[in-house]
Symmetry: C2
Subunit: 478 residues, 2 copies
């Protein structure tokens, strides 16, 4: 199926028209501002060209967005919606210029409904605010992306963000019960609602989740909350081999008869770079080849302590070098600061010659994957750091070239391709939580068969016949 | 968007062609057989006309189904896929004649992968078999529809079946990681896979889930398993008013800081009809106006006992008449046999003049809803029995007319419309787990706005441009 990619340019008349929708303070053509709002966290030097919108609009409500979409359809101008710009795949980067639509002013928590265990929010609320507001009511929002202090919930939903608690609670989509959406033609619709179950029509709530702003613009979100736990404890468990660390994961779950709320992995390289970046020390950072971080929650202090002890024993049986228990706020915070800083730490060490990956494979294959990665590293002369959500099989591998090398793009590309071939062979896929966006779309057909790629195009155009909402994303179009 | 609803008839040549795909034993035109395979659990006398296929085919693998779909597209013959026929919405009833496709011969459990906590199955496996196979490996499949002893997992996925454990574990879709699908054009594709996270492309796994066999035919399913618990206990809690029973539900969750794996409700009428049907006695069946059934699981016998005691105390504070603990197999089985027989019990009491409903509303509104239902019952001269998954806000209301009355259709229809108006007003929707299918499609536009109805049609036709796969379902087409 072919889509139309010929668009109108933004003119002075367009700006006037946009001001009539958003007001003077809701429209900017300031060069620096437009450039800043055209970026996400994918470094600009990694793009093949300079992607930049022509104008930024700041929406305050769904009605303005509805008017915008009707206008954009009439004039064939692309619209790219944007949250906090913390994305890692170019989802909010305007591939075809046009209008960048910021949701940052739609940042209200509209309702906390304790009886129904729901919170209704606008898309521009910072995720950590949601966690805090729920916690203050003895409830819990179980979404926990590493970017939570900065990212918006709208972006989390649009990308189906993962994070540290997916192994137990599922990704963002698992906590979304309903949403108000401005469809590409400007209609305002509700998918789902304040209810735990709904089979009235197709499941558009979860089709929207992870659709990267290509099917509609989310303007309200009903989130599912859970009762919060009274106690939590974390284990930091060093191992002298990657394989031993990985093999301990299913043992913890099956022998321990429990799913921890986090099962995180850091290899030696990412652990040492994180120490360096934070100017701190973690136990066994030099002796261990890999660390697991496990988190457990419970309402009963004693039975949580029993569980922790049991899991600690299982880890030791699986060959752990030691088991460190973090059961007070200070040590827990230090531990998680380490884990959550790994991405920045690796990035700041090798900022220019780098590829951040987000692959997923069946969890049982991670040890095989890590062995293969070591081989690729040697064969292709690249370095790597690896950390991630090992309980979900989701690993963030950062490939980098340490020395200045003008061929770094080719070197990294070769290693990436080799790694993807292995991921495919192991039954894995391209991206677990960062999204395809613009960054990965040329790789998507390796992991999605031709029928599915075509179906993605058809569904996109069923929602957006004129192809004006965040066009050119997710799969190759030309 | 308009769809083509003019189809070819099945001829003798068609039968020959189908035999060349499925073999002689895979095709039947036997009158009785075709009639039987054209039904589900919606009683035939409730339909406005006699829906019957022209031929039944029995698939053994995806390749046969692929060949069928290519053939059906070429000849414009409708194909209606079918699981065990336990559906309650006419999802498997052939609205436009043509070919009924039974998946009952695709009934193998293909793999239990304990390391990855997954089971891969064909669509014709009986759901209870999956529960048993997982349990034998100390794992748990958390899907638990009341029909589990008879329904197929393929039907559960196609309808996004709910059941008794949704409040804690989510509906069927929450346990589906991936699926092989024959698309309407005959392509065989894989959505998702053996991984907990996947944002490579749109979330077609969950779009397929609950799409009632209208978007593709599911031929393999990868299910997510959980570690099984060592101990479980149930509480049967009678209340002297419906309102007190309903109000106890959020108290259990928020004061108890726990989500039970089941929170079920039975009103006095359904409890007494169930006693009569099973020729047994439940405590307080005559004294109580409503019963709650709560189920809890844990690995530690003592802390489970503590939890049960705490929840019992909360129920007593909320005005329970008594709290009965079922912690051995016999009493637990008796209790659940009662709950799971409620539908049949009500049905066998009033088999001809009846409407089974599946509405969902925000859980906090159920007391208001039940009061309103009592008013409607009086105003419209209908009786009702109500039971259901109160923790999810999902109530099965059975409206019936007790005395022989030739106007029973109009009487029930009036009460149903009044009830739907109230559901809509309370922020609820039409169906939580049974599906829209053929039975409810004329009511769907009351709960889905015009933009969403149109989008459902567009997405259906994006998957199935010739409209040959289970046509005429979910929303009105004419």
């Amino acid at each position: 199926m072919k889509a139309n990619f010929s668009y109108s340019q933004v003119t002075e008349k367009t700006i006037e028209d946009l001001i009539s929708v958003f007001g003077g303070s809701g429209v900017s053509v300031d060069k620096e501002k437009v450039a800043a709002y055209s970026k996400d966290e994918v470094a600009v030097h990694l793009w093949d060209k300079n992607y930049e919108a022509e104008v930024v609009c700041f929406a305050e409500n769904a009605e303005q967005i509805s008017a915008l979409m009707k206008y954009a359809n009439r004039h064939r101008i692309p619209v790219t919606p944007r949250g906090a710009g913390t994305g890692l795949s170019g989802g909010a980067v305007p591939a075809y210029r046009g209008i960048e639509l910021s949701l940052e002013r739609m940042n209200r928590i509209l309702e906390l409904d304790a009886a129904n265990l729901t919170m209704t929010v606008e898309p521009g609320v910072v995720t950590a605010e949601i966690n805090k507001t729920a916690a203050a009511a003895n409830l819990m929002y179980a979404g926990d992306p590493c970017s939570g202090d900065a990212s918006f919930i709208g972006g989390n939903v649009a990308e189906n963000a993962g994070g540290n608690k997916v192994v137990k609670y599922g990704a963002t989509g698992n906590h979304v019960l309903g949403m108000e959406v401005v469809l590409p033609d400007g209609s305002i619709s509700w998918f789902g609602g304040k209810r735990r179950k709904d089979v009235t029509g197709y499941d558009f709530v979860h089709l929207m989740t992870g659709s990267e702003g290509t099917l509609g613009i989310i303007t309200k979100i009903i989130l599912r909350l859970l009762p919060s736990y009274s106690f939590a404890a974390d284990l930091l468990v060093p191992f002298d081999s990657v394989k031993r660390a990985i093999d301990a994961v299913p043992a913890v779950i099956t022998k321990g008869k429990t799913i921890p709320c986090s099962i995180e992995f850091m290899d030696k390289c990412s652990m040492m770079l994180t120490e360096q970046y934070l100017r701190t020390k973690f136990p066994f950072s030099h002796e261990a080849e890999a660390h697991l971080i496990l988190q457990f929650e419970g309402n009963d202090r004693e039975s949580l302590a029993d569980e922790i002890e049991k899991i600690g024993d299982i880890c030791m049986e699986e060959g752990a070098l030691e088991v460190f228990v973090a059961d007070n706020r200070t040590t827990r915070d230090k531990l998680w600061k380490g884990r959550k800083s790994a991405a920045e730490a690796v990035w700041s060490y090798a900022p220019t010659q780098i590829a951040n990956e987000d692959i997923v494979i069946p969890a049982s294959e991670i040890a095989v994957f890590m062995e293969g990665l070591e081989k690729i590293s040697r064969a292709d002369s690249v370095k790597y750091a690896a950390y991630g959500h090992v309980g979900d099989g989701n690993m963030h591998v950062t490939l980098y070239v340490e020395e200045e090398n003008k061929n770094w793009r080719e070197i990294i590309e070769k290693a990436r391709r080799d790694m993807y071939d292995m991921v495919k062979r192991l039954g894995g896929t391209l991206t677990g939580e960062h999204g395809v966006g613009l960054k990965r779309l040329m790789y998507a057909p390796q992991f999605l068969d031709a029928a599915q790629v075509e179906l993605i195009r058809r569904v996109k155009l069923a929602f957006d016949p004129n192809n004006i909402l965040n066009p050119g994303k997710i799969v190759p179009w030309t």
